[in-house]
């Protein structure tokens, strides 16, 4: 074992006989770009709504529910797609969320969530994961589109202006504290604070 490792080390550290240093450096550089580009392209593909609703359980459950909400159809025609709300923009968090999401893909491939009933049974757990995430990042994904600093309270309904002018302005609460179920049907809310 140890001797094998030593052997590899020797191969790796020995100067190349057949290739020039320039070739190796440049080649490594190009290969690196290709790998990185390919990786990120693959990542981008998984980052589209088409990919998200490619799975039966997403298309038949959450997507159908999203369609009647303001984030799918509204007077201005600006809309939020799945990754807008569910995938962090900065790279580290994105990768972390992707790794977590892989367990959901696992659920798909091995049929843990293949019917509406099974989805509903799992829904509270999945929702709680999203609430916790949005609570922890101060509803970052909402704020990517809805900037508090740009909210014109005189143009909001009195109810909205009140709530936003108090608990949101004082940072006591964040969007997800008050706007649960903004895009999908809620699971059984028993025991959730405020419900």
């Amino acid at each position: 074992m140890w001797s094998a490792a030593k052997q590899y080390w020797r191969v790796l550290t020995r100067p190349s006989v057949h290739f020039s240093l320039g070739f190796l450096t440049f080649g490594g550089f190009v290969a690196g770009i290709m790998f990185w580009g390919g990786f990120n392209t693959a990542l981008e593909i998984t980052n589209t709504e088409t990919f998200c609703v490619g799975c039966h359980e997403m298309r038949e459950n959450v997507f159908q529910e999203l369609k009647s909400t303001i984030h799918y159809t509204n007077r201005s025609g600006v809309r939020a797609s799945c990754p807008d709300c569910h995938v962090p923009h900065d790279w580290t968090n994105k990768i972390a969320r992707k790794i977590q999401a892989s367990s959901e893909v696992w659920g798909k491939i091995f049929g843990t969530i293949d019917t509406r009933e099974k989805f509903l049974a799992k829904r509270r757990e999945l929702a709680e994961r999203e609430w916790a995430r949005l609570k922890a990042n101060d509803s970052l994904e909402c704020r990517n589109c809805h900037g508090f600093d740009y909210m014109d309270f005189t143009r909001q309904s009195p109810r909205a202006a009140n709530a936003h002018g108090t608990f949101l302005a004082s940072a006591e609460k964040t969007c997800i504290d008050c706007h649960k179920g903004i895009a999908h049907e809620l699971p059984d809310m028993k025991g959730v604070p405020g419900w």
């Binding site: 309904s157 009195p158 709530a163 809620l186 699971p187 059984d188 405020g194 419900w195």
Partner: protein, 153 residues
């Protein structure tokens, strides 16, 4: 807000002027019975957040704000997330009436009784439109004060 009655008035006048012997326009419009005419534009839900007077004491108060997408089912009740007893300090919304805690035997329960759970069975939003038909409802105070002042009703 005023467009709709205005349009109705215009069509009515135009119609009366053009052809006195054509069929009378009713609420459903002039289209033949078997055909579906164009639908009127959808009215906006009133969203001023101002309480409205009740026409009689037992009247379920109307909802003074929009409730689009509010979920009320076995899993969740969005209305109660502001109007429940515990939520009102924060939301400053009126608490659901104590009658809503009563079961059919008149016993008060710890929380809203199942028979009062589905808010929109009694409470409804209002739209920003002129009423389509007239209404001669007079509330009890007006009747009483008219009686006192000797007018007959």
């Amino acid at each position: 807000m005023l467009k709709f009655p205005f349009v109705i008035a215009l069509t009515t006048i135009a119609f009366a002027a053009v052809a006195a012997d054509e069929p009378i326009a009713t609420l459903r419009g002039l289209d033949p019975l078997a055909e579906q005419g164009p639908a009127p534009p959808m009215a906006k839900v009133s969203n001023e957040d101002l309480r409205r007077a009740r026409n009689y004491p037992e009247q379920p108060p109307t909802i003074p704000h929009k409730i689009r997408g509010y979920q009320i089912d076995l899993n969740a009740n969005k209305c109660l997330s502001c109007h429940s007893r515990r939520a009102t300090a924060e939301s400053q919304a009126p608490m659901v009436s104590i009658t809503h805690f009563m079961n059919r035997d008149g016993q008060f329960l710890a929380s809203v009784s199942p028979r009062r759970y589905f808010c929109t069975l009694c409470h409804v939003t209002q739209q920003v439109i002129e009423p389509l038909v007239g209404n001669e409802f007079v509330d009890i105070d007006s009747i009483l004060s008219d009686q006192d002042s000797g007018k007959k009703n």
